[in-house]
């Protein structure tokens, strides 16, 4: 019979949770990171560095508010520069969190359990970083509320035929729903922290946040329904968000942007970069906090496979862009592609192809997927590649469009760079705080993976 063979094959893969764990050890191991007395020195150093970078962001934002967006490198014809590159990059990174927490939940992929909380937090912080850029790019960010439809004395309303207003709704809905999904997932774990915290303040704060959760079967029943419905709602939401982000480009007539392949190609790129970022963050964290039992090689292997698959979709997108530029017969489109291949930004383009298409092919090899340093390096390369992709899409298309008389060149100014680096500081600072004060792995979901969690039916 085939069953033993299948069993053996399944056993040959590393498990999603190391053997020997009970409800007790899972709970204690994960909550200890939060409840331990004293803060590890590594955390303090890491947080201090991130905090300094965050101050660089705040300084740059202050300078921007005083002097205006002229301190950036943007010009005519390149009106979109680092701000939109970074916006798309960050929001794409966020997508992996929702994919892991919602889509893999609906597909009953148990391995998602130990990375979903952490990936959802990453989503929130990445979307927070992303949201900064379009708002700052407004020029008068203090009037950002004009973007929302509300009755005002000017008698004006938003223009709903513009993709930019779709973006406002998509990103704000995405942030709200991700926040709720993350918080609902946290409630039972906050109750655990409330019951186990040794300090009065801890019991008080976690107690207020847990809202009196007591693990009643009736509550769990409705909780599971709500959680599944949220997953079902987040799944089309995450696809819609990057689709709408791609509409910002695709609905225009600019060569290189006006393409029907943009929505799927953007969504795949988002997942690609998001998984790369989850990997970049998960590898040091599991090492530092000794969480190898919960974040096993199986997780890293699966994430590498997702990266490989979405990377191939992205590569297909690059091929189709080139093919359509030739096949479409539009001289502006074919010029745009030739300008990408051999124009002033050709080095960046070929670096992008190397980072996103050539190097990730090493993930086909099992030995690479089993090597932590190799995976870490590949994930960093993909992060860089995906940033370059957005740079190429935005800058190359804008700098030489229809009329040679209005061509120009673009490069980021010192403030462009300081804001980009600073937003990484903001992201890391939030992540460090999250790791210190909230359970980074979903405790209650890990309990369901423990062998004793299944109800055994007694034969009467």
């Amino acid at each position: 019979m085939s069953t033993p063979v299948l069993e053996a094959r399944r056993d040959s893969r590393p498990p999603v949770i190391a053997p020997g764990h009970t409800f007790e050890t899972v709970t204690d191991r994960i909550s200890r990171v939060v409840l331990r007395r004293g803060t590890p020195r590594g955390w303090i150093v890491g947080f201090a560095l991130s905090f300094c970078l965050m101050m660089v962001l705040f300084y740059s934002v202050a300078a921007l508010l005083f002097r205006g967006i002229g301190i950036w490198g943007i010009n005519q014809p390149v009106e979109w520069g680092f701000d939109i590159v970074n916006f798309v990059w960050w929001i794409g990174i966020g997508h992996a969190g929702t994919l892991i927490s919602a889509i893999l939940l609906l597909l009953k992929q148990e391995w998602r359990t130990s990375i979903n909380r952490f990936a959802e937090a990453m989503t929130l912080f990445a979307v927070a970083c992303a949201g900064l850029y379009p708002v700052l790019h407004l020029g008068r960010p203090w009037l950002a509320y004009w973007l929302f439809p509300y009755p005002n004395t000017m008698g004006m309303w938003p223009q709903f035929r513009s993709p930019l207003i779709w973006d406002v709704f998509a990103v704000s809905t995405y942030l709200t729903v991700s926040l709720m999904f993350w918080f609902v997932g946290l409630i039972p774990d906050l109750a655990t922290l409330r019951d186990r915290s040794p300090s009065r303040i801890g019991r008080g704060v976690y107690g207020i946040l847990a809202m009196g959760w007591r693990g009643s079967a009736k509550h769990w029943h409705r909780y599971e329904t709500a959680y599944l419905l949220l997953a079902g709602l987040s799944t089309p939401l995450v696809v819609s968000v990057h689709t709408i982000v791609s509409f910002d480009f695709a609905v225009s007539v600019v060569p290189g942007w006006h393409a029907t392949i943009f929505p799927p190609y953007f969504v795949a790129g988002a997942i690609y970069s998001g998984f790369a970022m989850v990997m970049t963050l998960a590898i040091p964290i599991r090492k530092f906090y000794n969480l190898e039992d919960f974040l096993t090689m199986r997780h890293l292997d699966n994430m590498a496979r997702v990266m490989l698959a979405t990377g191939l979709i992205v590569a297909y997108g690059y091929m189709m862009e080139t093919f359509m530029a030739w096949y479409g017969g539009n001289p502006y489109e074919s010029f745009m592609i030739l300008n990408r291949f051999g124009g002033p930004y050709a080095p960046q383009y070929w670096l992008l192809i190397t980072c996103n298409v050539v190097i990730p092919q090493v993930l086909w090899f099992r030995r690479v997927r089993a090597s932590i340093p190799a995976l870490f390096v590949v994930s960093l390369i993909v992060n860089l590649g995906m940033w370059l992709e957005r740079y190429i899409i935005i800058v190359v298309s804008l700098h030489r469009d229809f009329l040679p008389s209005s061509w120009g060149m673009y490069s980021g100014s010192i403030y462009d760079w300081s804001m980009f680096v600073g937003s990484i500081g903001l992201f890391l600072s939030l992540l460090f705080l999250f790791i210190r004060y909230l359970p980074m792995i979903s405790i209650f979901e890990m309990r369901t993976l423990v062998p004793g969690a299944e109800v055994k039916e007694e034969t009467p």
Binding site: T27, Q159, A170, V184, R196, A217, R447, E458
Partner: protein
């Protein structure tokens, strides 16, 4: 109605299987007003308690439909009635470009009603609940499983119910003060 002197009796079990068996036996013995507490969701537990609540799905459906209507009507009203603008000669009611926002408001309202509906139906936030008076109940969020038969149950009797629970072989039994 006279308030019973205690909230109920709380029995503690080590495994989910024991808890589910205990709930089934308590049902069979005629107890109806009871609740089970576990550190993670157990599908069989709601079944054993004969607990079914379909209201949340209906609330979410209602929220989604409301969100879709609100989103679309907002765009229709602002673009056609209140603030008509001629954009490239397109009709004022250019419905295809209203779809993305309609979709987003649908999801937003549905998700909000899922979360708020779940909390409201569960009666959360709840600052006080009697089961927390039992010190061992702190383990309900860690590794122990509890069954509470409440004193308002018509079959409840301090002595008889205690003897019944003892026969289920629990780790501990405690009276829950109000």
């Amino acid at each position: 109605m006279k308030r019973p002197p205690i909230y109920g009796l709380l029995a503690e079990f080590d495994t989910p299987t024991e808890l589910v068996t205990a709930v089934r036996k308590a049902r069979a013995a005629g107890y109806r007003v009871m609740d089970a507490y576990s550190p993670f969701p157990i599908e069989e537990l709601a079944e054993a308690l004969h607990f079914h609540d379909r209201r949340l799905s209906m609330i979410v459906l209602g929220g989604g439909i409301t969100g879709g209507l609100v989103g679309y009507l907002l765009q229709y009203w602002t673009s056609v009635v209140e603030y008509p603008l001629n954009i490239g000669g397109r009709p004022l009611h250019s419905w295809p470009s209203f779809i993305p926002v309609t979709f987003e408001t649908t999801v937003l309202f549905a998700a909000l009603s899922a979360v708020l509906g779940m909390l409201a139906l569960n009666g959360l936030p709840m600052p006080y609940h009697p089961v927390f008076n039992v010190p061992r109940f702190a383990l309900a969020s860690r590794d122990q499983f509890f069954l509470c038969i409440e004193a308002v149950d018509p079959h409840f009797d301090r002595e008889i119910t205690r003897r019944f629970l003892e026969r289920l072989d629990p780790q501990s039994i405690a009276e829950v003060a109000h």
